[in-house]
């Protein structure tokens, strides 16, 4: 198993194949969704999405609830399987692997290899209630990366300090506020040094007065630069500040995408205009 | 090994004994429902002795085996002049034992009734009897009906214990048949299958009822 620090570069023929698919950018994308669809029974939540994220790029996904933006992140985190289409991470297929030239469903080992490049922060934190804060953050370095406990705890401590929680190491999640919980969750994902981090509405479950502290931490991380981010959010000002690019989702499709200033000051679709006026009205 | 002719021959006799088993189950359950309610209400009594007394009684009965309780009722009570037939001793034993379990079920039902209902009843000047019969029980009982159903099934499966106090129910019948011929395999297998085909569909029904109620409550 690779250490969390190591970048796995795979420069195989898959990368060459990739050039045909990516027409937009010269550099190999961090993530590439290719004709991704997802259905639950009759309900189609994603409709043939083509979408790329460049290394280090900060992309914000906005759109009404139920528009499919969360599903897009969950497919990448391998929490759900796409109905059709492919996803590539760092040039490698995520849900499939090639065995003797044939494309087959990825096994657990392959999924684990790719997952190591991805981190995720959930709307409802999903901290481990039976572990202390320190253990929450140190768990993956110890059990996934196989780092000795002392070293893992050292890493956990330094990252918890970074998110402003240096006095809570031995507390349990139930003793923290929502904002603190979410900061622990961010530290927990960050400690594995993913190449791309997914934020699934990280402030939607928080009391309004706690939103700021979490957004502040995310902004700080964004400014460090090297990690790509997919931010699913309803916080328009935040999206404007942090994102290099914003995509507007509606009914399982990307309706509009572009630089934040273009999208927010010059929305073309009426759906986006509606959404933005509702947020301004608040 | 298994002998079909013999199994078919003894089946009617075993099946007929099911009548005793079913009687003991239903009468015992009715008794348990009634006693359980009494225990549940007296546990909430404002008189401390009554509340603690019934709590202690519940703990004691729940923490001792039904079999020993049956022996006690059947063999000890005659010493003080109370003679009971095996069937009535069995029914009383089952009824008392399960009343302690049912009192807990009622309790959970009662505690699920919002505090405001008690206060509203008080504000309307209901008598204690009216509070229970008109307000609390009608609301607290329906949600626990599936749990009561499960206890009915559990009790049905406990009735073979009554064979130990000489009641000739289904298991005892099988045992007598078996001891005549020294062939226990068919007799006991038939008993097991009878229990299974009666209790399994019932518990599936209870599970369905439970799911449907959970849905409608939401």
């Amino acid at each position: 198993m690779s250490t969390p620090l190591k970048l796995v570069k795979n420069l195989s023929d898959e990368e060459n194949n990739y050039q045909d698919i990516s027409k937009k950018k010269q550099k190999q994308p961090m993530v590439c969704y290719d004709k991704i669809s997802k259905s639950y029974g009759d309900l189609q939540v994603l409709k043939k999405i083509d979408f790329d994220i460049a290394p280090g790029e900060k992309v914000a996904l906005i759109g009404p609830s139920g528009s499919g933006k969360t599903t897009l992140a969950r497919l990448l985190m391998t929490l759900e399987e796409p109905t059709s289409g492919t996803i590539k991470v760092d040039g490698e297929l995520l849900w499939h692997q090639k065995i003797k030239g044939k494309k087959v469903k990825a096994n657990e080992k392959h999924l684990q290899k790719i997952r190591g490049k991805i981190g995720m922060v959930f709307q409802h934190f999903n901290l481990f209630p039976h572990m202390t804060i320190l253990d929450n953050v140190a768990a993956a370095p110890i059990h996934v990366a196989g780092i000795p406990r002392a070293e893992a705890e050292e890493q956990a401590i330094s990252i918890l300090e970074k998110v402003g929680l240096s006095d809570k190491f031995n507390a349990y999640p139930s003793q923290l506020s929502g904002g603190q919980k979410q900061r622990v969750a961010i530290a927990r994902a960050l400690v594995m040094r993913p190449q791309i981090m997914l934020f699934d509405e990280p402030t939607s479950a928080l009391d309004p007065e706690l939103v700021g502290e979490v957004l502040g931490v995310i902004k700080d991380i964004a400014q460090e630069g090297e990690m790509a981010m997919l931010l699913i959010t309803h916080e328009m000002d935040f999206a404007k500040d942090v994102a290099d690019r914003v995509a507007f989702f509606d009914e399982g499709r990307i309706v509009e995408e572009g630089k934040p200033e273009e999208l927010f000051y010059n929305p073309r679709s009426t759906r986006l205009q509606d959404l933005l006026s509702r947020f301004r009205g608040r | 090994m298994w002998n079909w002719d013999y199994a078919i021959k003894i089946f009617p006799e075993i099946f007929a004994a099911l009548k005793i088993t079913v009687t003991a189950t239903f009468v015992g359950f009715a008794l348990a429902m009634l006693l359980g309610l009494v225990l549940a209400i007296s546990r909430r009594s404002s008189v401390k002795t009554v509340a603690y007394g019934s709590k202690g009684l519940i703990e004691f009965i729940r923490n001792t085996p039904l079999l020993v309780q049956l022996y006690f009722i059947f063999y000890v009570l005659p010493e003080v002049g109370i003679y009971l037939s095996p069937l009535s001793a069995g029914i009383i034993g089952l009824g008392i034992h399960y009343s302690t379990y049912l009192s807990e079920v009622y309790r959970s039902g009662i505690e699920a009734v919002p505090q405001g209902q008690w206060e509203a009843a008080k504000a309307l000047n209901f008598s204690p009897w009216q509070v229970w019969s008109k307000i609390i029980i009608p609301q607290g009982l329906p949600p626990v009906i599936p749990v009561l159903g499960n206890y009915l099934i559990t009790m049905f499966k406990e009735t073979p214990l009554l064979s130990a106090i000489t009641l000739v129910e289904i298991l005892q019948t099988a045992k007598i048949i078996g001891s005549h011929s020294f062939r226990y395999l068919e007799a006991f297998t038939i008993v097991g299958i009878l229990f299974l085909i009666l209790s399994y569909p019932s518990s599936v029904m209870v599970r369905r009822l439970e799911m449907r109620m959970n849905k409608s409550l939401r």
């Binding site: 391998t78 657990e108 | 064979s163």
Partner: protein
């Protein structure tokens, strides 16, 4: 002082009762986990077989199972001594009930916990070991606690297959001394004195384990 005369024999029986309780508990515990996981297996055959085991043992009566294993099994060539038959029956029976405790506790761990485990790239085994089981185990305790009391009480049934447990010694004493009231009262009290501290002890462990965490 009839009590002094009765007590040694009863305590001898108590020893057997405790041995059976302990052995059957071990067996039931192992079976509960095996069958609990079996019912959640991704293989249909495993799910079906464990469901069959669980439903048969939950759907028939403990005493019927005991008689079947002790009296009927020899006819197909498997003769077990009373102790083995008692332990096996109690273990199989309460293992079946226990599997439901295990299964429902595992299912009760919120889905987000598994998802967080996946997001942190835990392997399926480590997710179970470090995330799901520690949380599920706390939820299993009340269920296991109740089953332990039921199992202890259930051991009294082995007296009916001539195993010299507490209840058996009491019935023998009753036949020889006719001190019926004293014997059966003592019997109830002894069972209570074993079961009640057990109930309390389990509740204490539950409280200890959930302190501060939830």
């Amino acid at each position: 002082m009839t009590i002094l005369y009765l007590l040694p024999t009863l305590l001898q029986g108590l020893k057997i009762t405790l041995i059976i309780t302990f052995l059957a508990m071990l067996l039931a515990f192992v079976l509960a986990f095996l069958a609990g996981f079996g019912r959640l297996s991704k293989f249909r055959v495993v799910r079906f077989l464990t469901a069959f085991y669980v439903e048969v043992f939950r759907g028939t009566s403990l005493l019927v199972q005991l008689f079947w294993i002790y009296f009927a099994l020899p006819l197909i060539g498997i003769s077990l001594p009373p102790l083995a038959a008692g332990v096996l029956t109690l273990g199989l029976n309460y293992g079946a009930y226990g599997s439901e405790v295990v299964r429902s506790a595992i299912l009760a761990v919120p889905k987000g916990q598994t998802e967080a485990g996946i997001a942190l790239n835990f392997s399926p085994w480590r997710r179970l070991r470090h995330i799901i089981l520690p949380q599920a185990f706390v939820m299993m305790l009340p269920g296991f606690g109740n089953l332990q009391i039921e199992l202890l009480k259930g051991t009294s049934l082995v007296s009916l297959i001539t195993l010299a447990d507490l209840t058996y010694q009491a019935t023998i004493l009753n036949a020889s001394t006719m001190e019926t009231t004293m014997i059966y009262s003592l019997l109830l009290v002894i069972y209570f004195l074993i079961a009640w501290p057990l109930t309390r002890g389990i509740r204490w462990v539950e409280n200890r384990l959930s302190v501060g965490r939830y």
